[in-house]
C-alpha cells in the first residue's frame, strides 16, 4: 500500500481503537452511507509509487518543459522573470510558516501575523495607501474584487475599465461582473493609452469606478494627472492596477488620486509557476477599510501590555458575517505575501530602485535595437517601463519558434486580445537580461520575416 510513511496507525492500533470505540469493524463506522451509493469497487488509480519512483516520475514530467533557467525569457504580460534572492526560499521553506493555517489563534501565530502586518505596511509605502490586506489570489482577482468594492462603497453598479488594462484581468473582471449582474464598459484606446476624452464622456453619476493600469498592459506609463478629478467629480472611485516593481521609480498611485490600488505582486521574489500561485495586491485609502475584502492583520496588546498582532476587522469576513461579508475569500496567498515581504526587506529601497531602473534602461535598449531591424515597428509612442509592443514582419508564433531553437522565449503574441493589432508582440526586459542576451535576440531576428 502507498503512503504508509504518512499513516502511523498500525493494524494493532486500529484493532485497539475500534475496540475502544465499541465497533467490530471499520465498516461499522461507514454504515450510515446508503448502500446504493457506496463504491463497491477499488478506485481506478495507477499503482502507488515510492518516494524514489515519484520523484523520478515528476522529474521526467518537468524535463519535458522549457523554463526560465534553460531559456532566456522576454515574456511578460503580467508575469516576469525577475531576480529572486536566495534568502526567500530559506524563509518560506521554514515549516513553522508553511505548515501553519490562517492565524486564528494569535498567541501561537505571532510570526505570520507580524510578517503580514509588515507586508501590509510595505505595500502601503509603495502605493501611498493607508490600508492593505494580506493578499488576494492574483492580479486579475484583485482587480475584480476592487471593482466590486467600488460598487459596494458607491452603491452603484457600473464600472469603466480601460482597454489598456491587461486582457487577462479584464476577462476575470467580466466574469465576476456577469455573475453578479453588474455592468462593465470598456474605455477605448488612443495610441495604446486610455483615451481620456472618451473617459470623460463615459463617466457619469451612475459610474461606481474607473479602472486604469499603470504601467498599462503595453508597458506604457500613462499620464494620469487630473484624471482623478474627473472621476471624483462624479463621486466615482479611481482604481489603479499597478506593477509594484515600477513604484520605486514611478509616481505612486496616491499622487494621482487613486482610491483603491490593486495589482500583481509576482515580481516581488515569486517564481512564475506557470501562472500560479501568484500574489494579488489590494490596498486603499483608510475610508474604505471596512469594505476591504480578505484578511487584515492589526496591532494590539496582550494582557500584560506587550505589543502583538491579530487578524482584525473580522466583521467584514465570511466566517463571521456569512452572507453579509465583503467577499467570500478565505485562503489567500499568505505564504506568497511572506515571500514578497522578504524580497522587499532584502532588496530595500535601493535594491528595488536599481531593479526598476535597470528594467527601464534595458527595455529601452532592446526596443531601440529591435525597431532598427527591417519590418519591426514600434506600435505606440510614449514612455515604456519594462515592456513594449512591437509589430513584427510575420506570424508571432513563427517568430517564437525560431527563437526557441536558440533557447529564447520570445514575446507574448497579443493579437488575439486586440484584433486590430495584427502580428503584434509584447516584449518584457527585466534586470536579469544582459546586453549579450539582448544582442543575441536582435541578431536572431535580423532578416527574419
Amino acid at each position: 500500500m502507498g503512503g504508509k510513511h504518512y499513516l502511523p496507525l498500525t493494524d494493532e492500533d486500529r484493532r485497539e481503537m475500534l475496540k475502544k470505540i465499541g465497533v467490530k469493524s471499520v465498516e461499522d463506522l461507514f454504515s450510515d452511507i446508503p448502500e446504493e451509493v457506496r463504491l463497491k469497487r477499488d478506485l481506478d488509480l495507477p499503482p502507488a509509487m515510492s518516494e524514489l519512483e515519484a520523484v523520478k516520475h515528476l522529474n521526467s514530467l518537468a524535463a519535458k518543459n522549457k523554463h526560465l533557467n534553460n531559456c532566456t525569457s522576454f515574456m511578460g504580460a503580467g508575469v516576469y522573470d525577475h531576480f529572486i534572492p536566495s534568502v526567500i526560499k530559506h524563509i518560506t521553506g521554514r515549516s513553522e510558516f508553511y505548515t501553519s493555517y490562517t492565524p486564528y489563534q494569535p498567541e501561537i501565530s505571532q510570526g505570520i501575523l507580524q510578517a503580514i502586518f509588515e507586508y501590509q505596511t510595505m505595500i502601503c509605502q509603495l502605493a501611498g495607501m493607508e490600508v492593505a490586506n494580506a493578499s488576494m489570489y492574483d492580479g486579475g482577482t484583485a482587480v475584480a474584487e476592487g471593482a466590486i468594492m467600488g460598487c459596494g462603497t458607491t452603491r452603484r453598479s457600473k464600472a469603466l475599465v480601460s482597454q489598456s488594462v491587461s486582457p487577462f484581468y479584464r476577462a476575470v473582471l467580466q466574469n465576476y461582473f456577469n455573475s453578479r449582474g453588474l455592468d462593465l464598459e470598456e474605455i477605448p484606446l488612443k495610441d495604446g493609452h486610455t483615451d481620456f476624452s472618451k473617459l470623460e464622456e463615459m463617466v457619469d453619476d451612475k459610474t461606481a469606478s474607473v479602472i486604469l493600469q499603470q504601467p498599462n498592459f503595453f508597458g506604457l506609463v500613462e499620464d494620469l494627472d487630473g484624471v482623478a478629478d474627473t472621476i471624483h467629480n462624479h463621486k466615482a472611485v479611481l482604481i489603479m492596477a499597478v506593477d509594484p516593481l515600477s513604484l520605486p521609480l514611478l509616481k505612486p498611485p496616491v499622487d494621482y488620486g487613486a482610491d483603491i490600488v490593486v495589482g500583481e505582486g509576482q515580481g516581488l521574489g515569486v517564481p512564475p509557476s506557470f501562472g500560479g500561485p501568484l500574489l494579488g495586491i489590494m490596498a486603499a485609502r483608510s475610508r474604505f477599510v471596512r469594505q476591504l475584502p480578505g484578511r487584515i492583520a492589526g496591532e494590539t496588546v496582550d494582557s500584560e501590555g506587550n505589543r502583538g498582532f491579530v487578524l482584525t476587522l473580522q466583521t467584514r469576513e465570511q466566517h463571521i458575517r456569512r452572507e453579509k461579508a465583503s467577499s467570500n475569500i478565505c485562503s489567500n496567498e499568505a505564504l506568497v505575501a511572506l515571500a514578497a515581504a522578504v524580497y522587499m526587506a532584502a532588496m530595500g529601497p535601493q535594491g528595488m530602485r536599481e531593479v526598476a531602473e535597470q528594467c527601464l534602461q534595458k527595455a529601452a535598449y532592446t526596443r531601440e535595437k529591435l525597431t532598427a531591424l527591417d519590418g519591426f515597428k514600434t506600435v505606440f509612442s510614449g514612455h515604456n517601463f519594462k515592456e513594449f509592443a512591437i509589430k513584427v514582419p510575420g506570424k508571432p508564433e513563427e517568430l517564437n519558434k525560431k527563437l526557441l531553437q536558440k533557447d529564447i522565449l520570445g514575446g507574448v503574441d497579443i493579437s488575439p486580445f486586440y484584433p486590430e493589432l495584427e502580428n503584434t508582440m509584447l516584449f518584457a526586459v527585466t534586470e536579469k537580461r544582459t546586453r549579450e542576451e539582448i544582442d543575441t535576440l536582435v541578431r536572431e531576428l535580423e532578416g527574419w520575416k
Binding site: L9, V26, I108, Q318
Partner: protein, 485 residues
C-alpha cells in the same frame, strides 16, 4: 518567555543593503530622457535598509513565534491539517515546474499539461465527476466558480427566475458569502435532531426559484447526511442542482463519491485532502468538477489531448470565461499530484479509514469529560460542546487557550453555529494513537482545572510568547500598518 519582537521598520540603518545585483551593461540614457520628471516618484521609497543577516534573523525569529503542523498536533476542524510531505515541496520547486512562464508555447509545456491532464483523470475517478477545471485558486474561489457555472447553465436554458441558493445552517461561512458573491439570495435550511439537514424543511424550501443546494457531506458536524438521496431527488425534481463543498472529502475517499450521490458540481480543497501546505493562509487550490451537462460552462481553457500531444482547449462557447488570470495555482497542483501518485487507490482509501478511526476514537476518549452532541458515528471530525464548562466560567475559547499552554493547536472554536461553545475537532489520519491519547489527557486535565479554578483557565494562555491578545481593542482602534512616530 514573554517578549516583543521588533518590527523590520525599527531595525536597520541607512546605507545597509541585503542584496547584490550586477551593474547594468547596456548603454544607459538619462532617466529624464526615458521618463518625464512628472511621471517619476519624488520621495524615496520608505522601506528599511537591512543587511542579509538581519533579514534572515528577523524572519527566523518570527518563525519561532509560529505554530505549524510540523510543530505539533493541529486538530482544526474542517481544515484537515494533515502532515505536508516534504518531497512535495521538492518536486514543485523543480525549475521545470516553478520557473515556467504561463505564456510559453504549449509545445514547451507538455510536461505541465500532461500533469494537469493526469490529475484531472485522478480527480474524476475519486469524485465520480466528468470534467475538472484547475483554475480556481482556493476553496472559496472554487465555490464561486461552481455557482457561476450553475448560474450560466440555468441562464443558458432561459431559467432566469432561479435566484436562490439553499445552504444548511451547518455550512462553512464561505458558502453563504459565496452565494452573495455570485449575486444570489440565500435560503438557510435547518438541521434535524440527528444533525442531518431537515429533509422536510428542504422539501418545503425548494421551488422554481431554486438554483442549487450547497452541501458539505459529511457535514461540519462530521456526520454523513443519511438522507442524501432523498435530498438530491427533492432538489433535482424542482429543477435545481446539487453543489458539493469538498472541504470534507478526506472522510470518504474510496467509500463513496459525490458524483454517485447525485452532486452535479464539486469543488475540492487541494490544501486539505491532498496534503499541500496551507502556508499560513494560502496558497490553496480549488479544482471544480462537473457532470456532463455542465461541461460547456466551465472556465476556459481546459486541458485536452490529441494523439500524444496535450493542449489548452479554448473551444467552449458557453464558458463563464476566466476565474484566475492564467491556469490556476499550478504549483499547488504539482504537490497534490505527487501525493496522489504516492498514495495510490488503496492508500487514499486508507487515509479516509484512518481519519475516521482517529476521529471516532478521540471522540470516545473525550466523552468522559465533555458533552458531544449527536450520538452517532462520526466521519473525519466531531464537535464538542463546552457549554457545561462555559457555565462554570471557561468556555470553548478559553479551553482553546489552555490547549496552547499544553503544546497543542486547538480545534476550530465557536463553529458550527448550531452547537453552543463548539470545539470542532478534526484529528486527521497522519496522527498516531499516542498523540490522540496525549491530547485526550490534556483535555481531561483542562476539564479538571476548570472544575477547580475556571477563572484561571479563562485568563490564559500562560506559556506563549504573548499573553491573550486584545482583539476588541484591535478592531475598535485599528492600527493596520507601522507609521513613523
Amino acid at each position: 518567555m514573554r517578549k516583543e519582537k521588533a518590527l523590520l521598520f525599527e531595525m536597520g540603518r541607512s546605507g545597509r543593503q541585503g542584496y547584490s545585483l550586477p551593474s547594468s551593461d547596456v548603454p544607459g540614457k538619462s532617466l529624464d530622457e526615458l521618463l518625464p520628471k512628472k511621471m517619476q516618484r519624488e520621495e524615496p521609497l520608505g522601506l528599511p535598509e537591512l543587511s542579509e543577516v538581519e533579514v534572515i534573523r528577523h524572519y527566523t525569529e518570527l518563525s519561532t513565534r509560529n505554530f505549524g503542523v510540523d510543530t505539533g498536533f493541529y486538530p482544526l476542524g474542517s481544515c484537515t491539517m494533515k502532515y505536508n510531505p516534504k518531497v512535495n515541496e521538492e518536486v514543485a520547486a523543480l525549475p521545470g515546474f516553478a520557473l515556467m512562464h504561463p505564456c510559453q508555447p504549449e509545445d514547451t509545456a507538455q510536461g505541465a499539461l500532461e500533469l494537469y491532464y493526469k490529475m484531472e483523470q485522478h480527480l474524476k475517478e475519486l469524485t465520480g465527476m466528468e470534467r475538472f477545471t484547475m483554475q480556481p485558486a482556493a476553496g472559496a474561489h472554487g465555490e464561486l466558480t461552481g455557482l457561476m457555472v450553475i448560474q450560466a447553465y440555468h441562464r443558458h436554458r432561459g431559467d432566469h427566475q432561479r435566484n436562490k441558493v439553499l445552504v444548511p445552517v451547518t455550512a462553512h461561512g464561505t458558502n453563504p458569502a459565496t452565494v452573495t458573491m455570485a449575486g444570489y439570495e440565500i435560503v438557510q435550511i435547518p438541521a434535524d435532531e440527528r444533525g442531518n439537514v431537515d429533509l422536510e424543511a428542504l422539501k418545503e424550501a425548494v421551488d422554481e426559484t431554486t438554483s442549487a443546494l450547497m452541501l458539505t457531506n459529511p457535514s461540519t458536524l462530521g456526520l454523513f447526511e443519511e438522507e442524501i438521496l432523498d435530498m438530491a431527488k427533492a432538489v433535482h425534481d424542482a429543477g435545481g442542482l446539487l453543489y458539493y463543498d469538498g472541504a470534507n472529502l478526506n472522510a470518504i475517499m474510496g467509500y463513496v463519491r459525490p458524483g454517485d450521490m447525485g452532486f452535479d458540481v464539486v469543488h475540492l480543497n487541494i490544501h486539505k485532502t491532498f496534503s499541500t501546505p496551507h502556508g499560513g493562509g494560502g496558497p490553496g487550490s480549488g479544482p471544480v468538477g462537473v457532470k456532463e451537462r455542465l461541461i460547456p460552462f466551465l472556465p476556459k481553457p481546459l486541458v485536452d489531448k490529441k494523439d500524444d500531444r496535450f493542449y489548452f482547449g479554448y473551444d467552449l462557447p458557453n464558458s463563464i470565461g476566466k476565474i484566475q488570470s492564467f491556469f490556476g495555482n499550478f504549483g499547488v497542483v504539482v504537490k497534490a499530484y505527487n501525493y496522489v501518485c504516492m498514495m495510490g487507490a488503496e492508500g487514499l482509501k486508507q487515509v479516509s479509514t484512518d481519519a475516521v478511526i482517529n476521529s471516532n476514537y478521540l471522540a470516545t476518549l473525550l466523552q468522559k469529560n465533555y458533552y458531544i452532541p449527536y450520538d452517532r458515528f462520526r466521519k473525519h471530525e466531531f464537535v464538542v460542546s463546552a457549554k457545561p464548562q462555559g457555565k462554570k466560567g471557561a468556555g470553548a475559547g478559553d479551553i482553546a487557550k489552555a490547549l496552547l499552554d499544553r503544546g497543542f493547536h486547538p480545534p476550530t472554536v465557536y463553529f458550527p453555529l448550531i452547537v453552543d461553545e463548539a470545539l470542532m475537532t478534526e484529528p486527521n489520519e497522519t496522527e498516531s494513537k499516542e498523540t490522540l491519547d496525549a491530547y485526550a489527557r490534556a483535555m481531561e486535565e483542562i476539564a479538571g482545572a476548570i472544575e477547580e479554578d475556571a477563572e484561571k483557565i479563562a485568563a490564559g494562555p500562560y506559556n506563549t510568547v504573548v499573553g491573550r491578545l486584545d482583539e476588541v481593542r484591535a478592531a475598535r482602534n485599528p492600527i493596520l500598518r507601522w507609521q513613523e512616530e
